[in-house]
């Protein structure tokens, strides 16, 4: 089987998000990044496929240099090779600009049989990059996949839609986004590989290594733009009442009557 490529993303640790006041995009460089939790399911799928079919797994990530520890973590989970796609020109990319870069990098790694990604990132939460990247590569995509295996050199995927599950057959190559509920058990990193990767560095590809059209990168290449951000202040917006349970229960009854939920 041709290689498997896993795309991972570094996302801000919850609680540390900062938005650039000018561009209204996330300031990723200064942040403490963690591996996007949904990507672990993708890496788990890669690990299982690797066990079954003995394929090479390459993990790539588009981001600033502070993404490197995450690539190393991914290596310790199930990858054989790490590639960082990093360039100042990539900053401020929306999903289209991101998919553009990823597609170019994936193309450079051809031939491949599968591209795996998490369903969505916990910061942007668009879930758009996998199908968008597939479209730019001109290959099929499947989202919300819960199971994946090969049969007669074709991919068989179980994917979830709002009505139930479908079993889909398609020839490689394929882009798949894995459902976060696909696995009951997801492996931790391997101690041996964590030690091994300490002295390894990922391959770094910049814009110039990927034959990219500068117009399609970063803010410039991002048709969707944030024009305003407002913080949803978690200040108490209503009335907070304290008291003994008896008093509080009475208050509830009052409200129920007011709202017409019960009759007097």
């Amino acid at each position: 089987m041709e290689k498997i490529i896993v795309c991972i993303k570094g996302v801000p640790k919850p609680g540390t998000i900062k938005v650039d006041p000018e561009t209204h995009t996330l300031k990723r460089e200064s942040l403490e990044l963690i591996l996007n939790p949904n990507d672990r399911a993708a890496l788990e799928m890669a690990g299982r496929l690797k066990n079954t079919y003995n394929t090479e797994v390459i993990v790539i990530s588009m981001g600033p240099p502070n993404v490197v520890p995450l690539l190393k973590h991914a290596y310790a989970l199930s990858a054989d090779q790490m590639i960082l796609l990093s360039d100042k020109a990539f900053a401020g990319s929306d999903t289209l600009a991101t998919s553009y870069v990823l597609a170019k990098a994936i193309k450079k790694l051809s031939p491949f049989s599968l591209v795996l990604m998490g369903l969505k990132s916990i910061d942007g939460e668009t879930a758009q990059v996998p199908p968008e990247t597939a479209s730019l590569l001109g290959i099929p995509s499947l989202t919300n996949v819960k199971n994946l295996f090969m049969e007669n050199n074709k991919w068989i995927a179980i994917r979830e839609i709002d009505y139930g599950e479908e079993e889909v057959e398609v020839e490689p190559p394929l882009v798949v986004s894995i459902s976060p509920t696909a696995f009951d058990y997801i492996r931790p990193p391997s101690l041996k590989k964590l030690i091994e990767v300490k002295s390894k560095e990922p391959l770094v590809w910049q814009a110039k290594d990927l034959d990219l059209d500068p117009q399609k990168l970063g803010l410039q290449g991002s048709p969707t733009q944030v024009v305003e951000v407002s913080e949803k202040k978690m200040e108490a917006k209503g009335i907070i009442l304290e008291g003994n349970p008896e008093e509080l229960a009475e208050k509830l009854l009052e409200i129920f009557k007011e709202k017409g939920l019960i009759r007097l």
């Binding site: 058990y185 492996r187 931790p188 990193p189 101690l191 041996k192 964590l194 030690i195 300490k198």
Partner: protein, 383 residues
């Protein structure tokens, strides 16, 4: 309060164990204890993380580390759940005999799979009439041609039923008494081997403890570990090694108990102030800290000695096991007291630490037996 300086690799080990504890154990530990259920997921995670191979030599796929690293892992894991850690640590009792006494074929056959966590081990010595008096075992292993036939039973065996490999000590020559025992590798599918009932325990409830039955259990003769007659040497050397692990387990439990009760004491307001302000309380915590630091220094000092290749480790490992388990029992009991009524409620984990700690004073040789051993070893130095 001392920070132990660790190498880069040791730090990676501790971080990894912490990650596993946080993700695979912490959210479920109380539930497993309450329901007395063995969940294979954390064990699978430890296996996938290469953590069963810590002490297995590199040439057999392990990391080739020693007691020190084993104790680092066990201490950290015990902080999250001593029950899960018992399953983990007991597996070392099964792999260590093979490392020490196995011949090349046996090492090649078993160690790589153990290192990869594909096979879990157990150690079976105790019988209903042979607990502290281990020499009173009655299970017989009779040589018949190219096989040994085992008959008898073991009980109170950790990992019974979930292990793939059992190190079983049986009598090959009852007439020779202590020199008539031999150690064997029994595999779970061997004919005539079966697992009996699962015990209902006071603590360490996430681990499995069962009886084992040998009814004309037929095993090939190449399963003998070492030579005939070496059974108790295998057992005692293994237990010498395992005692530091118990020490580390005691540290983890005591640390967790002290932390939770201390945080409680610092936030529990009674009579207008945190109860930590009252000397009866703060002095108790001071006492906990004293004992815990002493215990920790003892454990890791001993592991360094063991890892240096020292031969006379029996006395020091007994001291470690005896002291630290008593400390853990003291600390967990005081921790419940410091938390008052909350300490008594099963919604809080501190009562679990107390119940878990109790077993450490009993298994791998009761603390009474440990004192016998220490006294006996002591006299060797001061003849």
């Amino acid at each position: 309060m001392i920070k132990y300086s660790l190498s880069e690799e040791q730090k990676i080990l501790v971080d990894l164990v912490t990650q596993i504890g946080e993700e695979y154990i912490k959210p479920y530990a109380l539930k497993w204890d309450e329901e007395e259920v063995f969940d294979e997921k954390p064990i699978r995670a430890l296996a996938d993380a290469d953590l069963f191979g810590i002490i297995i030599p590199k040439e057999y796929g392990g990391l080739g580390w020693g007691s020190f690293e084993m104790c680092l892992a066990v201490e950290k894991l015990s902080y999250y759940c001593a029950g899960v850690t018992t399953t983990y640590a007991a597996a070392f009792l099964g792999s260590y005999p093979i490392i020490l006494f196995g011949n090349e074929e046996q090492k090649k056959k078993y160690l790589p799979e153990i290192a990869r966590g594909k096979k879990v081990c157990a150690f079976a010595l105790t019988e209903p009439q042979a607990g502290s008096d281990a020499f009173a075992i009655k299970t017989i292993a009779k040589k018949e041609g190219d096989f040994y036939i085992l008959n008898g039973m073991k009980h109170f065996i950790t990992n019974g039923g979930i292990a793939d490999i059992y190190i079983v000590v049986a009598m090959t020559d009852p007439a020779k008494g202590a020199r008539g025992a031999s150690a064997f590798i029994v595999e779970k599918n061997d004919p005539g081997f079966s697992v009996g009932k699962k015990e209902k325990k006071l603590g360490l409830r996430a681990s499995v403890t069962t009886e084992l039955f040998f009814n004309d259990c037929k095993i090939p003769k190449d399963r003998l570990l070492g030579k005939e007659g070496m059974g108790f040497i295998v057992a005692l050397r293994t237990l010498d090694f395992g005692r530091c692990g118990v020490g580390a387990q005691a540290l983890g439990i005591a640390q967790a108990a002290m932390e939770i009760s201390l945080k409680h004491a610092n936030s529990r307001i009674q009579f207008g102030q945190p109860i930590y302000n009252f000397q009866a309380v703060s002095h108790t915590f001071a006492e906990m800290a004293i004992k815990l630091e002493a215990a920790r220094a003892l454990v890791y000092n001993a592991t360094k000695y063991i890892d240096s290749g020292a031969k006379d480790i029996t006395g020091i490992s007994s001291i470690v096991k005896c002291f630290t388990s008593d400390v853990a029992m003291w600390i967990t009991e005081r921790a419940i007291q410091m938390m008052g009524g909350f300490g008594y409620m099963r919604d809080y984990p501190v009562q679990k630490y107390f119940r878990d700690a109790k077993c450490l004073q009993i298994y791998e040789g009761t603390n009474e037996i440990q004192r016998n051993i220490i006294a006996r070893e002591l006299i060797k130095y001061y003849k």
